[in-house]
Subunit: 366 residues, 2 copies
Amino acid sequence: MAVRQENEPAPAQSRAAVRRPTINDVAALSGVSKSTVSNVLRDTGSMSEATRARVRDAIKALGYRPNAAARNLVQQRTRLIGVVVGDLANAFNAELVKHLELAASERGYITLVCNTDGFPERERRRIETLLEQRVDGIALLQFTGDRAVIGQLLAERVPVVMVSCWAEYADSVAVDDQEGVALAVRHLVGLGHERIAHVTDARIEPITRRTRLDAFERALLLEGLKPRPEWMLTWDEDADAETRERLQSLVSGEEAPTALLAANDFTAIKMMEMLEDMGRQVPRDVSVVGFDGIAVGELSRIALTTVVQPRESLAELGIRMLEERIESGPDAPSRQHRLPARLIVRHSTAPPPKATSRRAPRKRSQ
Amino acid sequence: MAVRQENEPAPAQSRAAVRRPTINDVAALSGVSKSTVSNVLRDTGSMSEATRARVRDAIKALGYRPNAAARNLVQQRTRLIGVVVGDLANAFNAELVKHLELAASERGYITLVCNTDGFPERERRRIETLLEQRVDGIALLQFTGDRAVIGQLLAERVPVVMVSCWAEYADSVAVDDQEGVALAVRHLVGLGHERIAHVTDARIEPITRRTRLDAFERALLLEGLKPRPEWMLTWDEDADAETRERLQSLVSGEEAPTALLAANDFTAIKMMEMLEDMGRQVPRDVSVVGFDGIAVGELSRIALTTVVQPRESLAELGIRMLEERIESGPDAPSRQHRLPARLIVRHSTAPPPKATSRRAPRKRSQ
DNA sequence: TTGAAAGCGCTAACAC
DNA sequence: GTGTTAGCGCTTTCAA
């Protein structure tokens, strides 16, 4: 091992990143001007086949690759888009990001993925970075953070699309929460459940949380059931014990709910776990329905009945909307889309333990 | 809806992305030269407090934000790093990417995430894009693709680090597969298992696959057990039925294995599903051990005994190695790290159904 | 302490 | 068909 002397100069190669050939090198080698090279690269202008061939050869010989920074600088667009996500480790988000990356890439965009872990400070810094990069647009996913940020972005006239969340004043694409929740409630009622509780997740973006909760109450009402405030739980990862306690007291009463509708799959699975810890079987004692349709739910040991969000379409449409926004500029009116939800019935739902009422099953146009 | 005339000029805002203030604007407003502004921004040089304040005010007043493309161009470095991953929807990868993003961002790098779905063509295009962006370095995760690509990158002298996979000639960081597998085997043998099968996944990067398989055989030998080639399965998502058949015949014989060691959690869980489809209980009839330590395994309904990879350390160290490579240039010798594995015993393992031998439990220095 | 000027690698308008 | 030229927004000498 050579010991480095105190004042020895740094080793040769150090960070002097290998010099890459530029368009000038190509021009010199092929004996044309750099605009001709540029024209060949971008397939514009017109030139003789011979010239084109010579340029192509030079490019290959040198291993030339255009420098995006230079192009960005002069074109004033980067074909970069930022994707801001709370938690990539969440399966739903990961799948969404994956499809966003695909859709973006098919349209010639590169994605910069930013994981904020829900910290507003981190989020602010990430967005700042994205703006320095002059991203052409930003996709906000399951945005749990400071909503002021959105307003600020809009004020800066940066193209923004909300994917799987919602803001009145910004382009948004999300699942039809209302219909999704209604599907779930109808399914449970169809099985004979009349006492249905709702469990939401503190980390769901507030507007979506509110929407799903409202949809839940409305759906109950439509089924002739009365929403009970004490049956609305919020699960908070940071206050696990508290949730457990509330759930415990909820299910141990005589008039305990026979079904739980969770605002997402993650929570649904958590609830299954908790219930079984407490000695309640799912679905024998309590039915559980989720929302999202993440892959884990398919496992036969989980077999979660759930409302599926069309992740691929959400991503696809989100990117399309973002691109349109980029094209049309900040003054075009904002657009919102709701995509249809779909119920998948598996084995976490069953009729309630004992029939608590004898009213005839209601026919509904599904 | 206004109908657009044939030769009408395009609408005003259209894609003429809002003009952002430049360093010149700041210089003009604060009455200094742009080099002074630059110095204030980068906190270099020396200037009077008054000047600094004036420049700061101008920056704030204009909402100025430096343009990364311009900086990249002149500095010949981008602080961008590419992360190439096969499948983000895979929980292990998603977590790794998440931690890579964090570690990178803490060091001032931005990550470009590329999902290849294992298609060599897509992978090649993505890497090409990364190189056009002049990323400072690339992290290859669970790299299943064309290994020629790595050689090519190395030949181009691009800083590369393999995270959770291995290449002799490139910087690599991975878990200690050998020790991990040994832990699992010892655990099973300790429970009394003597007939242990191995199931790998066709999508695991070949070298890792090989390493784990070899480690498995070696561990068996060390325990005085004989590896049986017919007990080495490969699960292939695209040939699900075939795997099922092989598994079926494997477990239906008289001398069937009483335990399965899978090369990753995903496969382990798949095997649990298949076994239970076939009417075998886990762990009553067959024990199953995984490898990775993904979150799903923690669910009480899954409760997978598994070898945990230290994802956070892998990511952290991977980024650090990449940065060092960026600093030291392509000629520094390559470095490899193995991180310790940890066994987590949950409820997918138990003693074999009937004691098949009475040999005394062996004491081992763990 | 500050400024002038060159130039990073490319595109695009225009000339020839 | 092909070349010339003027930047894009910044950093970085080097002078003043």
